[in-house]
């Protein structure tokens, strides 16, 4: 049983917002809703880094714990999904979520919250796979087609990784090892860095992964 995870490589993200656009287009999310966003820390200063963030599909999901109507469920792939027919739009998941993933289209009186919308890992929802209801409420179901989320697939620098946690962490580990190899000689990526001596990979910023 897989456990699907996102990982954003801060050394690669160039804040192009391609993932945000890809997500909006693929899932046709409501106006004002952004399932994914790119945040830049220290914008314009030394040490500037950008990270793309959406629902991280937590194993112990705080949103599911606090939901008063118990509308969340976790798929066999470890994707945290919710049932919009059950959701009442109370906003508790938004208070509890560390990543600001839950989104609310403001629809009702006093601008109160409509039904929550969030990243589905492109895995649709509780409706029948590829049905028009599923498409309308939750967006695309790429996972059922055997594809990964479009945000990660579209990422130009392969900063945003999505997939089984074991594979994602394996790719990232290889990158770290190779970065350590290169910065000893070039010293461009990290300040005061130097993990280990070059292993004949001088000048190569990363592996082919």
């Amino acid at each position: 049983m897989a456990s699907m995870k996102f990982y954003c490589d801060a050394e690669r993200c160039i804040e192009c917002n391609g993932c945000v656009t890809a997500c909006k287009n693929e899932n046709e999310v409501p106006w004002g809703v952004n399932r994914r966003r790119v945040v830049t820390i220290k914008d314009g200063e030394p040490g500037e880094r950008s990270l793309s963030v959406a629902c991280m599909h937590c194993s112990d999901a705080p949103c599911a714990a606090v939901c008063p109507v118990d509308c969340f469920y976790i798929t066999d792939d470890g994707v945290v999904l919710h049932d919009k027919d059950i959701c009442i739009g109370c906003g508790y998941c938004f208070y509890a979520c560390p990543f600001g993933a839950p989104q609310f289209p403001s629809s009702a009186a006093f601008g109160s919250r409509g039904k929550m919308d969030k990243c589905t890992f492109c895995a649709g929802g509780p409706e029948e796979n590829f049905s028009s209801e599923e498409k309308l409420k939750y967006g695309s179901n790429r996972l059922a087609e055997g594809k990964l989320p479009l945000c990660a697939e579209m990422c130009a620098t392969k900063a945003l990784l999505a997939g089984d946690a074991d594979i994602v962490s394996d790719i990232y580990r290889k990158r770290i090892i190779n970065r350590g190899a290169s910065v000893m000689n070039w010293g461009v990526a990290y300040e005061n860095a130097g993990l280990r001596v070059s292993q004949g990979k001088a000048g190569k910023a990363s592996s082919t992964d």
Binding site: A10, V39, A96, P98, G100, F110, S112, V197
Partner: protein, 357 residues
Amino acid sequence: MNIARKRQMRNVGILTLLLVLIAPLIPYAISAVSGSSVQGNEYQTQVKHPGGDLWREVRQRDTDVIGRTQVKGVDTGILINKSGEDWRQYRMEMLAPYGAYLMGAILGLIVLFYLVRGTLRIPGGFSGKKILRFTLNERMVHWFTVVIFWLLGVTGLILLYGRMVLIPLLGLEGFSITASASKEVHNLIGPLFLVAMLALIITFIKDNFYASGDLKWLFKAGGMLGGHVSAGRFNAGEKVWYWLASFLGLALCVTGLILDFAILGQSREIMALSHVIHTIAAIVMIAVSFGHIYLGTAGMEGSLSSMSTGYVDENWAKAHHDRWYEEMQATTTKDSKQEAVAGGVAATGKASPISDN
């Protein structure tokens, strides 16, 4: 002499042996004291984790770091919201269980008190003579507040305990409809609670200031421990309830408005904090209201009519609010003279304080 010298020689021998054994450890001791690691091995250089600073900022470890993002919205520049987990812990592990314990304990105490003491009868029974205790205005303000308070209280409790209590009974879909209706009622009726609270505070503030004798009333627990305690129009217990309800009610209104109007751009941290204050105030107010309701209905004979018809029995007034009774007797004689001149009961809702019905 010889023995002493032999012992000295042996001691020197042991000391020398110890020094020889310790000697190989000396370089380690020096390096430990000076703090420098063994140099000359590039595989063991101390390196700061290159992502350390970044992730410390992302995780909001030391300071609140707000990044820049193209996505407009509340808190979108924050990568990790550190207050979320605290709020989850509060709601799931403190509010839900301890709220239930508090309300259950108060209910239990009331049932126990009822079983021990039963309904507190009017000493001397009903006299048949009635005194106006609450005017029509006062009663309307009271019941207006009651209806709104319980609409909000019940819907709020449904949202807090429904997942535990009602989902097993109604199922997910059935409870979703209930909870959705509860949320809408709570959010739409909520702002009216401010109107009700302000009306309640203004209407009843006159007789709820501290008066001499109130402390004595509290020390004697209002005569529950036996003996008679005198009181004015409102006794110290009612005054405590008035001020408690006023402050908790206003806190509920302020935090409720922050939570209700989610479009004003308030941060999650502010909303989570508001929710904490809102729920503590609500649970305490609901728990204390159980006692208020008990004393107004089953707990005390003759008290309910004060809020329904507005009148109480003269003997009830003498027993529970003797000083108020005396004041009323004094003013009544004046009023009845005035009314005799004016020609009967005024239509303004200020009925004659004494009536024979």
